[in-house]
């Protein structure tokens, strides 16, 4: 029983992480029909901002040396600026293109950013010891919850609530929802396209920064591909939850987290190595039998 609760905690924590990433992908997709794979590199660059940019294998800390609030703030600024830059320089000129073209351009941006990091930091993984006190486990009635899991769940919860508040209660949030529903109509009603899209990118940057910090606290390592797997799984999450639907993206994130942890926990040893293949099968199943995902937005319904 304790074991089962432990597994559920593990799943919720992993699901929270995926939900944060899938929300940021879903948000940008909603307003721009862009599946932004460069999100992976926002996460990577946010993490690398903690150390001095050199090719050294054991670099000195840069933002990582600051007190926690400044460090988190610094990483957020770096990633938000990066997200806005990619929007302005790469995606704005492509706006209105076919979603497939946009997807390809996001791969190009991602490839460029990854190689930029490799050029500056070298391709060798690095390590960084921040938030060591956070990683220690806390016991609740025999259930062990690592500090990083608590932190991940807490951050995800705060961000989800903040996002709901933003979308429902602020003028910009309402404009964003309108733009996600029908972009042309929203523009005709006076919604400024540039501002709405830039805001979506900025929010996706804030979330990427949060994921960077959570990943670094959890793993203690930096790697040029560190953002890739979370983004791929988060992309699956948006497919499962329904492209363009924010509640769907969050739900999908938790589903992917539960399925991954569940497979790891209950598959026989010989099949565990193929855990990810089962997750991929689930996504293929959704694409075949319910391509619109679990939660369908009206914008998506039009297109189907």
């Amino acid at each position: 029983m304790q074991n089962l609760i432990q597994i559920i905690v593990d799943a919720v924590a992993l699901g929270s992480l995926y939900a944060l990433v899938s929300l940021s992908i879903g948000l940008v997709f909603g307003v721009m029909r862009l599946i932004n794979f460069a999100q992976a590199d926002y996460i990577t660059i946010g993490a690398y901002a903690l150390v001095v940019p050199t090719a050294s294998v054991s670099p000195a800390l840069l933002l990582g040396a600051l007190p926690f609030a400044f460090m988190a703030g610094g990483v957020v600024v770096v990633v938000v600026v990066l997200a806005l830059l990619t929007e302005r320089l790469a995606f704005r000129p492509m706006r209105g293109s076919d979603p497939a073209t946009l997807l390809v351009s996001s791969f190009a941006v991602s490839y460029f950013l990854q190689h930029l990091v490799m050029l500056i930091h070298s391709g060798r993984p690095k390590s960084v010891g921040i938030g060591n006190s956070l990683s220690a486990a806390v016991e609740f009635w025999g259930i062990r919850v690592p500090g990083t899991q608590l932190l991940t769940m807490g951050v995800a919860l705060v961000m989800l609530v903040a996002m709901v508040f933003f979308l429902k209660k602020t003028p910009m949030g309402i404009q964003m929802r309108a733009a996600a529903e029908n972009f042309q109509m929203a523009r005709l009603m006076g919604v400024k396209a540039n501002r709405v899209i830039a805001t979506a990118f900025a929010i996706s940057g804030i979330m990427a920064a949060a994921v960077s910090l959570l990943l670094v606290v959890q793993t203690g390592t930096l790697d040029i591909r560190m953002g890739l797997m979370p983004v791929i799984f988060a992309f699956f999450a948006t497919v499962i939850g329904g492209m363009g639907s924010l509640p769907g993206a969050a739900l999908g994130g938790f589903i992917v987290g539960f399925v991954t942890v569940g497979l790891q926990a209950f598959l026989p040893p010989d099949l565990r190595a193929f855990r990810d293949a089962f997750v991929f099968m689930l996504v293929i199943g959704f694409l075949l039998f319910r391509p619109q995902g679990l939660i369908v937005t009206s914008a998506a319904r039009e297109r189907v």
């Binding site: 074991n3 432990q6 597994i7 905690v9 593990d10 799943a11 924590a13 992993l14 992480l17 294998v57 054991s58 490799m118 070298s122 391709g123 060798r124 993984p125 690095k126 390590s127 960084v128 010891g129 060591n132 990683s135 220690a136 486990a137 062990r144 690592p146 500090g147 990083t148 899991q149 990943l215 959890q218 793993t219 203690g220 390592t221 930096l222 790697d223 040029i224 591909r225 560190m226 890739l228 797997m229 979370p230 991954t260 942890v261 790891q264 926990a265 040893p269 565990r272 190595a273 855990r275 990810d276």
Partner: protein, 401 residues
Amino acid sequence: MNLNKLTKIVAVAALGGVPLTGAQAQEDPIKIGFAIAQSGWLSNYDLSPYRAAVAKIDQINASGGLLGRQIEYTVGDTKTEQERAAAVGAQMVSTGVDLLVVSCDYDFGAPAALAANSAGIITMSLCAADPKMGVQGVGPYAFSGNSAAQSEGIAIAEYGVKKMGLKTAYVLEDTTIEYNKSNCAGFRHAWKETAGEGSIVGEDSFRNEDPSIAAQITRIKSLDVAPDAIHICSFTPGGASAVRQLRAAGIDAPILASTAMVDNYWLNAVPGLKDFYVPGFMSLYGDDPRPEMAEFLAAFNERWGEGPVSSYSVLGYTLIESWAHAVEQAETADADEVLSVMNSYVDEPFTAGLTSFSDQLHIQTNRPWLIMKVEDDTFKAVEIFRNTITPDMRLLFRVGQ
């Protein structure tokens, strides 16, 4: 500057700056080609042993060359691409090299090595740990400067049971690459052989890029009796991340890891790490018990003005030693004659350790290891340990596993 001269300069620059040390030699120089990754992610694994190899070449040249002939070397960048590795290898073979050195990895080194092997030229990988970089895989002219990954697992298992008195182990296998699987296969084999059947109390797998191994930790925690040791066959960054998460979860059992986890660069990820053991090649931190390692570090420092970033570098140094020794013995650089000398090596005392080859096996299976442990946030040399169990062909090629 006339056009001809300009072309020459461009050609030299394109070849990565060929040193013209052989210009004064009376005879034609001996030629070594390096088809390695100077850019891309693999460059971080190739460059350190490559630089050590160059340090050895320079030493040989300074002391009069090989058979009185200077050694000239050229470098071609494979850019961590398999297709380009094949092209660079083929190009070097066509220009006529006596030895082709290829990348530190079977998948990326084999395309270039195949070109040399089919032309009957000796080819050596800087540090591939896969026995396929040899007779059965690439072909009879292919060698690796490293030990087979299985022997790493065997060595640390034997050390754990015999020297540390550990009785039970839990195996955590990173299934991302073959190296890890070979390492774990060697470990399981040797642990069962020395500690008895049933001494491996559990197994689990993870992927190097997994952001969390919480589910794997839950499984270890739910064991009725905690294991004496945990074996992790992985590499950084995933391996470092796994160690951090294990220790954070309060699992303090000794961790026995693979050689890829050696060197201090990742220790920031787990401050205060203790009871972490690897079979290493050498210590970069001045406490290696073998004086020849100090000489190697001095030679490297003199050539490059800084120490090596990775202890894998010594394999590049010994790669040149082992080939040059065979050339001296054979009194020719002719591939077939050098090959027959190399195939007869039994415990040749090169810098990286005792080296043996046979006409069936072109990788080390029981070269002595420097067991290292982490203490005070640094790797420390513990002792030299030689595994007594050697992997057979079935284990080396993981037949039927």
